[in-house]
Amino acid sequence: MATKATLTLTSPDLVSDNINFSVEATLTQAGNSTDIAASTGLARTNFVAGGSAPFASKVIFRSEDATADGANKIYMKNTSSTATEFFTIFIDQEEMGRLYAGDWAFFPWIASQGTKETFIVTSAGTVAAGDSWDFDGITTTSADANSNNFAAAIHAENYPNWTTTISTAAVTFTAREAGAAGVVTGTTAITGDTITDLASSDLTMNITSAVAGTRSEADIHVVPSVATTMVLEHMLFKQ
């Protein structure tokens, strides 16, 4: 069975005749009849009480969660029962609409994506046991005087905001999320790393290649209207 979405609109008195129509869509991939096969599952996000306007937004879906230009669909519902409470939905910086209490939305999502910052770091000079390199809050200490082993140790760490790959003594860092994180400051320069060179004082961690990122311009944010607890229900169907 495929995934089917149905909308029914009824009104006995909006116009002079009854309105009663229904439309059903089978959720398929872009440009073909293959069923959508991936989703985030139905979930809820709590917005806790407190703070003052403007209230903090939350990112509900990042563009990287889906295929750009795919036949992605988003479902959202404001579960509040207080009529005046609403969520404002944004795509990137643009305000799309307000979900008042009980309101729901179902719309296609382009998920156009930005690019991730990336750089390559390679140690040069003399590495000694005890030398270290600190980046993204992670300090890697060299166990010996082998630069390849030092690179492997750097690659073996789990960085909160970056992933790594390795080629001999060169470690490539790639940001986990698209955006202009500000770490890459030039084609051969980054900021925020620290070297501790115990002995020879000639250890360097050269940035041999670096590319700044760009932010995604289709992330879905929502902002609550009040400082009471509100709950947003949501689901992403993705290609």
């Binding site: 089917k4 149905t6 009104s11 008195d13 398929t28 036949a71």
Partner: protein
């Protein structure tokens, strides 16, 4: 006051094998912040969108439309050619593609006079059905 109800359901037995999806939600369309006054204005129709033509405003958020109110937008792509899609834009931001048979339902608060909703047919002609349930607007005076 008009009584208009929008009901939505999602059903799938195999999208998440361990969790049958069977969701139904229903909402009477009220004016912004109200739980008693129903939305009482409607625009609806059908357009044939030619491919290769620049994007056009389907709903114009000009000063005549009540801003930051309860406006509900319905658009469906009635095309049967799978590769044809309609690109939907809000405030100049592409939000997504309505492929053949797809529909969307979006609360739209027409926050700015530039918060227009526009549509563009891609890969071929598409016919769209549309409706805007809203709280009213001031008709624009005829130019002298």
């Amino acid at each position: 006051m008009a009584t208009t109800t929008a009901t939505f359901s999602l059903r799938s037995s195999d999208l998440i094998p361990s969790q049958v999806l069977s969701l139904t939600t229903s909402k009477r369309l009220y004016k912004a912040g109200s739980s008693s006054e129903g939305v009482d204005h409607l625009k609806m129709g059908r357009h044939k969108l030619s491919s290769g033509v620049a994007a056009s405003d389907l709903f114009n958020a000009d000063a005549a439309l009540n801003q930051d109110k309860s406006n509900y937008v319905y658009i469906s792509n009635a095309s049967t050619t799978k590769s044809n899609y309609v690109e939907v834009t809000v405030i100049g931001e592409h939000i997504g593609r309505l492929y053949a048979g797809d529909f969307m339902w979006l609360p739209w608060n027409a926050d700015l006079v530039t918060s227009d909703i526009s549509v563009l047919a891609v890969n071929g002609e598409s016919t769209i059905d549309y409706a805007l349930f809203h709280e009213g607007e001031t008709l624009v005076l005829v130019s002298a």
